[in-house]
C-alpha cells in the first residue's frame, strides 16, 4: 500500500483518527452520553432478543442470509450488470463511482444538469462516507436532512453518534432550545410538540425540494428494485415528492432475487430495533410511470466502490461485505455501550466499524480499532448475516502487527514474553525474580500500584501477587499426584 487514503472523518473537534483512546476517555467522562447510552442500549438488546426468540427458524435464516450474500459477492460483476440492465429497462439511469471524490462529482454534475438547487435527503451511511453533504453545500446546493434525528443534528451542526439512534447523546432540553433559536418555535418541553414543529418545517421542505437523495438498504438485481426501510416516512416522502430521485449505494448491497427480501427483511427489523417489520418498506422500480400523480420523473442510481473491491479481494475479510447495517453488533457490544459512536473516529462504529474502517480505508489510521475489544463474541452471536466478527478482528490485529504498526513498548513486551515463555528455565528464573521484586509492592496480600506499561491494571483493580510457591513445584513435591485421593 503506497498512499493510505484518509478515513472520511466527521468533524470531531480536531481529533485525529488515531486518537481512539483519547476519545474513549472523553466519552467515559461525559455523564450525559453515559446516561443516554445506559438508557437506550439495554432497551435495544431486550427488544432484539424477544423479537428473535419469536422466530424458531432464526439460526436457519442467518445461515441462509450468509449463503445468499456469499454467492452474490462471489459473482458480483454478473449481478451488477443484471441490476444495471434492469434499472435501465425501467427508465432509470445508472452511474458508477470508483471512489468518494468521483461519487461527489457524479452527483453534483447530474444535479446541475437537472437544475437542482434544493435537496431533501434521508439517512444514508454511504453518503456520509463519501462526504456528500459538504460537497453539495460547496457546490451551492441546499441540503436538508429529513430523518428527525439527522434534521436536529444538522441544525445543531453535529455528527450522529449511533447508526439507528443518531441523537442518542442529545437530551430534549437541548432540542427545545435549538428549535427556539433556529426555527423561532416556542420552547416546548414534550417530545410530541417538538415532533410537530419538525414535521411542519420538513413538510415545507419535502414539497419545495427539486430532488431527493437517499441510500438504499437492498438493491435487487433481478428487477432493478431499490428497497428502502424506515420508520418515520421521510424516505417515502423524499422519493415521492421531488421530481428527481438520486439513490446512492455501495456495490455490496445487491441481492439476486426479489424473493430474497423475504429472508432479509425478516432479519433486518428484528435485529435493528426488535420490530417485526419497520413501519415502511418501499420497493422502488424505476421512476414514476406515465399518468402517476406522484413519484420522481427521473431516477438516478449511483453505484459506489470506495474501497469495497479491496475487501472483495480479501478472502479472509470479505464476509464483512455481507453487512446489512442493522447495528445489532453495536447494541450488544459492551465497549460501544460505553464509548458511543464518536469514539471510533469513523462513519462506521462498533464491531463492524472496527472491521470496515481499516479494511476499506487502510490499517494505519485505524490501527487501534481492532484492539478496542475483549473479543467477548457477543457481536458474532447476533449478526443476522453470520459475520464472524471476532475472527475478523483477530485477523486485523495480526495484520497490524505484521505491518509493524504496533507501538514499541508492545513490541518489546511481546519479545520479552516469547523469550521467557519458551523456556522452562527462563520461566523459573523470571518467576524467582518477580517474587523477589514484588516484596516491595505487596501489602495485605495484593499489589495496589503497578508502574510503567502495566499501570493501567492497578488504575481500576488490585493485582494478585505471584504465588510464593509455584504450582509446578507443589505438583512435583506431591509426586505429580492429586492431594486427597478424591474420586
Amino acid at each position: 500500500m503506497s498512499t493510505e487514503p484518509a478515513i472520511p472523518v466527521r468533524p470531531l473537534a480536531g481529533a485525529r483518527p488515531g486518537d481512539m483512546r483519547a476519545r474513549l476517555a472523553q466519552a467515559l467522562a461525559d455523564p450525559m452520553l453515559q446516561t443516554a447510552l445506559g438508557r437506550a442500549i439495554p432497551g435495544f438488546r431486550r427488544m432484539r432478543a424477544s423479537a428473535v426468540a419469536e422466530v424458531p427458524e432464526w439460526e436457519v435464516l442467518r445461515r441462509l442470509a450468509a449463503h445468499i450474500k456469499d454467492h452474490t459477492l462471489a459473482v458480483l460483476d454478473r449481478y451488477l450488470e443484471q441490476f444495471e440492465a434492469a434499472v435501465r429497462a425501467r427508465g432509470g439511469v445508472v452511474h458508477w463511482a470508483a471512489d468518494a471524490a468521483e461519487a461527489q462529482r457524479t452527483i453534483i454534475d447530474l444535479l446541475r444538469a437537472l437544475g437542482v438547487h434544493q435537496v431533501v435527503k434521508s439517512k444514508s451511511m454511504v453518503t456520509e462516507e463519501i462526504g456528500l453533504n459538504a460537497a453539495l453545500e460547496a457546490a451551492g446546493v441546499r441540503v436538508v436532512e429529513t430523518d428527525l434525528g439527522e434534521y436536529v443534528l444538522q441544525l445543531a451542526g453535529e455528527a450522529p453518534s449511533h447508526l439507528i439512534a443518531p441523537m442518542i447523546h442529545k437530551p430534549i432540553e437541548a432540542v427545545s432550545e435549538l428549535f427556539a433559536v433556529a426555527l423561532g418555535a416556542p420552547r416546548y418541553e414534550r417530545a410530541e410538540d417538538l415532533n410537530r414543529v419538525a414535521r411542519a418545517a420538513l413538510r415545507r421542505e419535502f414539497l419545495a425540494a427539486d430532488a431527493g437523495i437517499t441510500g438504499v438498504n437492498f438493491a435487487v438485481a433481478e428487477t432493478g428494485t431499490l428497497v428502502i426501510v424506515e420508520n418515520e416516512g421521510n424516505a417515502r416522502l423524499v422519493t415521492s415528492c421531488p421530481r428527481v430521485h438520486v439513490a446512492v449505494l455501495g456495490i455490496e448491497k445487491l441481492l439476486p432475487r426479489l424473493a430474497d427480501l423475504g429472508v432479509f427483511l425478516r432479519l433486518l427489523a428484528r435485529s435493528a430495533t426488535g420490530q417485526r417489520a419497520s413501519v415502511y418498506v418501499s420497493l422502488l422500480t424505476g421512476p414514476r410511470r406515465s399518468g402517476e400523480a406522484d413519484g420522481p420523473d427521473e431516477l438516478h442510481v449511483v453505484l459506489v466502490d470506495n474501497g469495497r473491491t479491496r475487501l472483495l479481494a480479501d478472502p479472509d475479510l470479505r464476509e464483512a461485505l455481507r453487512c446489512i447495517r442493522c447495528s445489532a453488533c453495536l447494541n450488544v457490544c459492551p465497549v460501544f455501550e460505553r464509548a458511543g459512536g464518536h469514539a471510533y473516529g469513523s462513519v462506521y462504529a462498533g464491531p463492524i466499524g472496527a472491521v470496515l474502517t481499516p479494511a476499506l480505508w487502510g490499517l494505519r489510521p485505524a490501527r487501534e480499532l481492532p484492539f478496542a475489544s475483549t473479543l467477548c463474541g457477543a457481536c458474532g452471536e447476533v449478526c443476522p448475516v453470520s459475520i464472524d466478527l471476532p475472527r475478523l478482528l483477530l485477523e486485523l490485529r495480526a495484520r497490524v502487527v505484521r505491518e509493524g504498526l504496533v507501538g514499541r513498548p508492545d513490541r518489546l513486551f511481546a519479545r520479552l514474553w516469547t523469550l521467557v515463555m519458551r523456556s522452562p528455565t527462563r520461566l523459573t528464573l523470571f518467576g524467582a525474580l518477580g517474587r523477589a521484586l514484588q516484596r516491595l509492592a505487596v501489602s495485605e496480600g495484593r499489589i495496589d500500584r503497578l508502574r510503567g506499561p502495566l499501570a493501567g491494571w492497578t488504575a481500576h483493580r488490585a493485582a494478585p501477587p505471584l504465588a510464593a510457591v509455584p504450582f509446578r513445584v507443589r505438583w512435583r513435591a506431591r509426586g505429580g499426584r492429586p492431594g486427597r485421593g478424591r474420586p
Binding site: 452474490t72 460483476d77 417530545a191 420508520n231 421521510n234 418498506v281 414514476r288 479481494a313
Partner: protein, 228 residues
C-alpha cells in the same frame, strides 16, 4: 470510463481472491457458493386473526366488517370522531363504495390527480390494499395512476380497506404470489414504480428517546378488514 473501472476492479478482486484462497480439495463443489433455495412461507391457520392481533400490537386500529357497506359506516364514524371533513381517496373498486358513502354523508372526497399540497391539506387518505401480511400486520400498497403514493403518506389519518381473503401469512408468501405469474423470473416490468409495505403509524424515538407517532407520515392508521 467509471463503469469499466469499477466492474474491472470487481472482476480483478474476484480473480485475485480465488487465487489466494485455500485450495479446494478434489471433488468438492465449485468455488462459487450456490444460490440457496428459499424456504416456503409459514403456514398460519387463521391469518385474519393473526393480522388483527399484530396490528393492535403496532397501534393500528382494526375493525372487521362483514361487507363493504359496513366498512363505509365504520369509516364515516372514524372520520366524524376526528372532525375530519376532507378526504383524498384512491380510485379503486374496494374503496369506491366507501368513498361514495362518505361523499353522500357530506365529506369532501377528492380523487387522484390533484397536486401534492392539496393532498397535504386533507384530513385523511382513503386507500385499498393489494395484500395484507399477517405476521407483521402490513398493508401492501402498489402505486399507479389510480393509487397515488402520497394518499397513504401525507394526511394525518390513513384509512385502508383490506379484503380478508387477501391476507397472506408472511412476506415469503407475497413473493411466491408475485412469482407465480412469472415462473422463470420476475422482469422489471412486473413491478409497479413503488410498492409500499406499511405496518402501522409513522414512528420515531429520536428526540429524547421518547416514542412519538406521526414523525412524518400518518399519526394514525386504521384498517377495515372486509370479510365478504
Amino acid at each position: 470510463m467509471s463503469r469499466e473501472a469499477v466492474l474491472g476492479r470487481v472482476r480483478a478482486a474476484l480473480r485475485s481472491a480465488a487465487a489466494v484462497a485455500q485450495p479446494v480439495p478434489a471433488g468438492a463443489a465449485a468455488a462459487v457458493p450456490a444460490l440457496p433455495a428459499l424456504p416456503d412461507h409459514q403456514v398460519v391457520a387463521d391469518p385474519v386473526t393473526l393480522f388483527v392481533e399484530r396490528a393492535r400490537a403496532v397501534a393500528t386500529t382494526v375493525e372487521i366488517c362483514a361487507t363493504v357497506d359496513d366498512a363505509a359506516v365504520q369509516a364515516a364514524a372514524w372520520l366524524a370522531a376526528r372532525g375530519a371533513r376532507r378526504v383524498v381517496a384512491w380510485d379503486d373498486p374496494d374503496v369506491a363504495t366507501v368513498a361514495v358513502r362518505l361523499a353522500a354523508g357530506g365529506i369532501e372526497v377528492t380523487p387522484p390527480g390533484v397536486a401534492s399540497d392539496i393532498v397535504a391539506q386533507a384530513d385523511a387518505g382513503l386507500t385499498g390494499a393489494a395484500w395484507g401480511i399477517a405476521e407483521s400486520a402490513s398493508l401492501v400498497l402498489p402505486a399507479d395512476p389510480q393509487r397515488p403514493r402520497l394518499f397513504s403518506l401525507l394526511p394525518p389519518l390513513h384509512v385502508a380497506v383490506l379484503r380478508a381473503g387477501r391476507i397472506l401469512p408472511d412476506l415469503p408468501a407475497l413473493f411466491e404470489h408475485l412469482q407465480a405469474t412469472h415462473p422463470s423470473g420476475l422482469p422489471p416490468a412486473a413491478l409497479p414504480s413503488a410498492l409500499a409495505f406499511v405496518s402501522g403509524p409513522s414512528r420515531s424515538a429520536d428526540i429524547g428517546l421518547v416514542p412519538v407517532q406521526g414523525a412524518h407520515g400518518p399519526m394514525e392508521v386504521a384498517v377495515l378488514v372486509v370479510t365478504r
